[in-house]
Symmetry: C2
Subunit: 294 residues, 2 copies
């Protein structure tokens, strides 16, 4: 079963990366440097969790993944732009990302800024090319803009900045993550359902699943920052503590945090009941995030 | 006639600013600081040239301006985000914008960065709310993303950066401006026509008009940087020379640059023949840009 899961996952990732390559082709040498910066960051070995969710929720709703693929790539580009801007000196000032120099270290701050802007813009251009019906495509674009905008991901980034160096409560920490990382993960699952014309019950189930694995993912990040292997992670261990950041581990301790990941994963898997026997891959995906080492 | 022109222009601007206010309402106190930064920059006394072009081209094509209004506001937000990011220390490092502190001076670099990102994202959210048919709305969104992306405005910003401190040829200077400022002006005129279901001849005429006034506008900017009144401009005069920037005036001289503005304005007005007697306002708009003092 695990072998099957990995094969399916690799197949999804291959489809996604081929499409990303196609969308990232540079049409002029005049601004090649910013195209290079965009590709550098998009191709920097991400887990492709969000685009995989788009394709897989489209599948379990009986949809045609070719209609979902532009949205899968759009979401990955938005995720990448947010990382590029997050790493900038005026934000987190991170020189490394996934074991390689951050975009602004490799290309300079001005081109990293513009590469982020260009990826965000390109995401919406690509989204318009979906062969889903125009009204479905528009609905999915609206979802994408809302979840990545100030009422979603960006709102979470703002809250994160405002809470820096403060003793953050568990409640606030959850709120920040539900927006900062959760909104885009939820958006991915939702759009997979929307392009497959799924009913509201399925859309709701997808949201519940996505919120749960999104939160589990974040708690796991905090656990790995304490227990992880810096070589596997591509970043130093203990950075949260050094930055005096409130984390699930610092508030709840390692044991309760680990239990929380377990519970959230179970909850995510239960929410998939509405898809009956179709959602085996998504259940295994939830489990795989729990046992990851990077 | 001039009195009529000013009245019509003020009416358009009132419609646009009321709509911008509505779209910029902040839905949570949690991220109010970035909403404030967005509003601060959008409301910073711009000329609203781009949104006026959206509404007016929609009108001359016999369209319903309520369908064009979301796009008018979306383009103004994209224009504003580009100014916020352009002013950042890693780009032009400008402390003042239209006589007031730049966004990053007023709110801090991190919030200026996020306010720019949020305006760009909000633009696409708003665009999806047009009551034009879904396929027309999608076509207009694609135009918006293409013209503001790496193949349009951002490409121009990159070329501008790459040519900094260099002796730029007239040809390259034109190419940079056709993308950096021209693409979004052209996009505004084009989208006005698209949402009115105009035929291809009218779309082409709108593009020619927009490219011509866009270039005239830029040459005029360079002239005002030499001859203008810094109080009216809200920025110091002579900044191009101090920054050793190649401009139309530095390449062509003041006299030829002034002639160029005249010719471009005439060319823009001639391109409106296809609209017969409907385009009086757009002709006067071209003239008004030529005689502006700020």
């Amino acid at each position: 079963m695990a072998a099957d899961f990995n094969q399916f996952l690799e197949k999804d990732i291959e489809i996604i990366e081929n499409a990303l390559d196609k969308y990232l082709q540079c049409l002029s040498t005049d601004y090649k440097i910013v195209c290079d910066a965009m590709s550098y960051s998009v191709k920097n070995g991400g887990k492709r969790l969000r685009p995989v969710l788009v394709l897989e929720f489209c599948k379990v709703c009986g949809g045609d993944i070719s209609k979902a693929l532009p949205f899968a790539c759009a979401i990955e580009m938005i995720h990448t732009y947010s990382l590029i801007h997050d790493d900038l000196p005026c934000m987190d000032d991170d020189d490394m990302r996934r074991g390689r120099p951050s975009c602004h270290i490799a290309f300079g701050e001005e081109y990293a800024l513009l590469a982020g802007d260009a990826l965000l813009t390109k995401a919406f251009e690509i989204a318009t090319t979906s062969t889903a019906s125009p009204d479905v495509t528009l609905r999915a674009i609206r979802e994408l803009a809302q979840k990545s905008g100030v009422g979603g991901m960006i709102g979470g980034q703002v809250m994160d900045l405002l809470n820096e160096g403060k003793n953050t409560s568990l409640e606030t920490l959850k709120e920040i993550h539900l927006l900062k990382t959760g909104a885009l993960i939820e958006c991915a699952a939702t759009i997979g359902c929307i392009v497959a014309n799924a009913d509201e019950e399925k859309v709701q189930a997808a949201k519940t699943y996505a919120q749960s694995i999104g939160l589990a993912f974040q708690v796991m990040d905090d656990i790995l920052d304490v227990t992880g292997d810096c070589e596997l992670l591509g970043k130093p261990v203990g950075s949260d503590k050094n930055n005096e950041k409130s984390t699930y581990v610092s508030i709840l301790g390692l044991e309760v945090s680990t239990e929380m990941v377990e519970k959230l994963t179970d909850f995510a898997k239960e929410s998939l009941d509405v898809f009956e026997n179709e959602a085996e891959f998504l259940k295994q995906l939830a489990d795989s995030l729990k046992s990851r080492e990077k």
